[in-house]
């Protein structure tokens, strides 16, 4: 059967090109770097604190962890919050206060900020503690679209996206399954 190549189709170059309108150029340079407030993309935030940006990215990964997906997709998903916070003081407050709460909980439990809590499981416990807050619900709810609706990411899940422009699947494997047990 025709399978999908799940390796990234986004080379560094095409990523830089395709996302120029979405991301500050420095953000693209994040590919492969860790999630930190010092990263160029976090430093470029205009309204939210760099540490807040980095925390949001890590939080996004902890909410919807996919080990075959690079940080850049999570960065792309949360980047729009900076502009939103710039034009809407209420969202800015929701986010900064939400992140401050995460950090406070992390301090209580592990004596470090959320970003520095070493294990995913420990961070998930912190998130469980806030999952009913408007902050968490907003971030989780937005991510369902801002993360999974990135076309660059679909092939990594084996989803091929738009099909009419390619003549549908009538000659592209709509019935090519070949491993079912013969009855």
């Amino acid at each position: 059967m025709r399978e999908i190549d799940r390796r990234s189709r986004v080379s560094r170059r095409s990523f830089l090109h395709a996302s120029a309108t979405v991301l500050p150029a420095a953000a693209a340079a994040a590919t492969g770097l860790g999630i930190s407030a010092e990263a160029a993309w976090a430093q470029e935030a205009k309204t939210l604190k760099p540490a807040t940006m980095a925390t949001l990215v890590l939080m996004a990964r902890d909410i919807f962890p996919h080990d075959h997906i690079g940080d850049v997709f999570y960065i792309k998903a949360v980047m729009p919050y900076d502009a939103k916070a710039g034009s809407d003081p209420a969202s800015r407050a929701l986010i900064e206060e939400g992140v401050a709460r995460l950090d406070a909980d992390a301090m209580d439990r592990h004596q470090v900020a959320y970003l520095a809590v070493p294990w995913e499981q420990q961070r998930v416990e912190i998130l469980r503690g806030v999952e009913l807050t408007p902050f968490f619900r907003k971030i989780r709810g937005d991510l369902v679209v801002s993360l999974y609706n990135q076309k660059d990411l679909w092939a990594k899940f084996g989803y091929e996206g738009s099909s009419a422009d390619k003549g549908g699947y009538i000659h592209r494997g709509f019935d090519d399954i070949n491993w079912l047990p013969q009855s």
Partner: protein, 522 residues
């Protein structure tokens, strides 16, 4: 294309251009009757449909606010989106998947067959299968339903092959690629299915029947049908004798207009139709138009639904090809030994990755959720369509607070599952999982009902005026020149998708209306 004067009071005004309204409009136009269809949404043609779930949703879906209450999970997950239906010319036949099944005989007689179920408000239809059969035949021909009229079935896609293999392994017999209003070969000026797989986003090839590019242009070609897009009906007016006289609507520029009418037929789908009747209350009809029974908005049904997905070791690519061409019908029978009355069908279903993420388990997060999505390519999926039980308290009312931009109260939808629905869903989840387990699923999971795609019953037919809103022709018991022509007519929902029945009723209603008009009765 016709263009009628707003003061022309000889026209039939139909509200809504979907399965019911679009079909009725064409049928009347073919008989030489002048028709104006008011459609709240825009006219979006095939070539403009988008193979992208969210972008298509934004393009076609009904997004105007509605509110919800009740214990159904949709209230919690999607409080302002009780239904996933269309606001565009063609109505939900733009989104629909094409599954076209007839009711079984006993499903017209639920009160007689199922008895007086506590907590339910069951009622027999005032019509029988025998009365509707000739119209089912006409509808199947009109829509080009596969496995009828010598039209071959569609070829099975990967998702179907998994369902078929599993279902046969556990002993199911009636398993095939469905009765689908999708061309398996060119017919009626439309080509055959290209297995595009975006049936829910509007069929770009036109292989799938939709009133948008079948009934409506055919009606327009007669010169008797005018479709006015971006025309949202806000109130139906009547005279001192209690006859309706016209419809007030908001046009695309936001201005209120009035179209006079000899007859009005409401076909806005089961949430908007009762809303329009309730919003048309007057001194003469204080509880809403045609509501002397108090049943307008009540008995809302949405089918007992849910989905089951199975994950396999190897790829399935369920999204390739026709979304819903696959069915298991063995559980549709009436067999109370299963612990519930009524039955259900299992039909293939696939969602693209974006909708899968949104609907798999709304509100969920963490690795249990993401590991399921990681195996998206290896997933097969099915949808459950079972008969749910009409309840008086499941209803559409006018929201006491929230209003639309015309200042009209929005529809508020209350729903609680009946214990019979819960028992049936449990059974279906188990059988669905067993099907996938039989062919080697490594993981199966039930997913909760999505916002309702099937919306039924809120202006039901009844023999006696006190039990419902409409007589057996969809004519309101209270107002003789006012009809309802959509799925809200349903007295019961049956274990099958509703549209073939909506279309059959519309064809029949056109005969009724033209007969009554020529006899001067309306």
């Amino acid at each position: 294309m016709a263009n009628f004067d707003q003061n022309d009071d000889s026209v039939v005004v139909i509200v809504g251009s979907g399965a019911g309204g679009g079909t009725l409009g064409n049928e009347l136009a073919q008989k030489g009757i002048k028709v104006v269809i008011l459609e709240a949404g825009a006219r979006v043609e095939n070539q403009d449909f988008i193979n992208d779930e969210w972008a298509s949703f934004v393009q076609l879906a009904w997004k105007d606010t509605r509110t919800t209450s009740g214990t159904w999970r949709v209230h919690q997950d999607f409080p302002n989106l009780p239904a996933w239906i269309v606001k565009a010319v063609g109505g939900s036949t733009v989104h629909w998947a094409g599954a076209s099944l007839r009711f079984q005989e006993h499903e017209f007689k639920t009160r007689t067959t199922y008895g007086a179920l506590p907590g339910a408000n069951l009622l027999d239809w005032p019509i029988t299968l025998a009365e509707l059969e000739p119209y089912y035949t006409k509808a199947e021909d009109k829509m080009g339903v596969t496995r009828t009229n010598n039209i071959p079935g569609l070829p099975g896609n990967n998702n179907f092959k998994v369902l078929e293999a599993g279902a046969k392994k556990i002993g199911y017999k009636e398993v095939h690629t469905g009765r689908m209003a999708i061309n398996s070969e060119p017919r009626d000026g439309r080509g055959s299915c290209q297995q595009i797989g975006f049936c829910f986003q509007g069929c770009k090839s036109g292989a799938k029947w939709s009133t948008l590019y079948t009934e409506i242009p055919k009606g327009e070609a007669t010169g008797k049908l005018e479709v006015r897009p971006n025309a949202m009906a806000v109130k139906i007016e009547h005279d001192a004798s209690g006859k309706v006289t016209g419809v007030v609507y908001m046009d695309g520029s936001g201005a209120l207009q009035r179209q006079k009418a000899r007859v009005v037929a409401v076909a806005g789908n089961s949430l908007e139709s009762p809303r329009l009747l309730l919003n048309s209350a007057s001194a003469m009809f204080p509880d809403g138009l045609a509501n002397s029974s108090g049943q307008v908005g009540r008995n809302y049904m949405r089918h007992m639904t849910g989905s089951v997905y199975g994950v396999f070791e190897r790829p399935v690519h369920m999204y390739r090809g026709t979304t819903m061409a696959g069915i298991v019908r063995d559980e549709a029978k009436m067999d109370p030994s299963r612990g519930f009355v009524g039955g259900y069908e299992l039909e293939t279903l696939s969602l693209g990755l974006p909708f899968m993420a949104a609907f798999l388990d709304p509100g969920a997060w963490g690795r249990s959720f993401t590991s399921a999505l990681d195996d998206y390519a290896n997933m097969a999926g099915m949808w459950i369509v079972g008969e749910d039980m009409a309840r008086e308290t499941n209803r559409v009312t006018l929201d006491p607070v929230v209003k639309d931009k015309n200042g009209m109260p929005v529809a508020s939808v209350h729903f609680d599952d009946h214990p019979n629905d819960v028992a049936m869903r449990q059974h279906a989840y188990q059988q669905g999982a067993a099907i996938y387990d039989a062919v080697g699923a490594v993981r199966t999971f039930p997913t909760p009902p999505y916002p309702s795609t099937h919306n039924l019953g809120t202006n039901r037919m009844s023999e006696k005026p006190r039990d419902g809103v409409l007589n057996k022709y969809g004519q309101t018991h209270d107002v003789k020149n006012l009809f309802v022509s959509d799925g809200s007519q349903f007295t019961s929902g049956a274990a099958c998708n509703p549209t073939l029945t909506i279309v059959s009723l519309a064809i029949r209603q056109a005969d009724t209306i033209s007969g009554m008009m020529s006899r001067g009765e309306i």
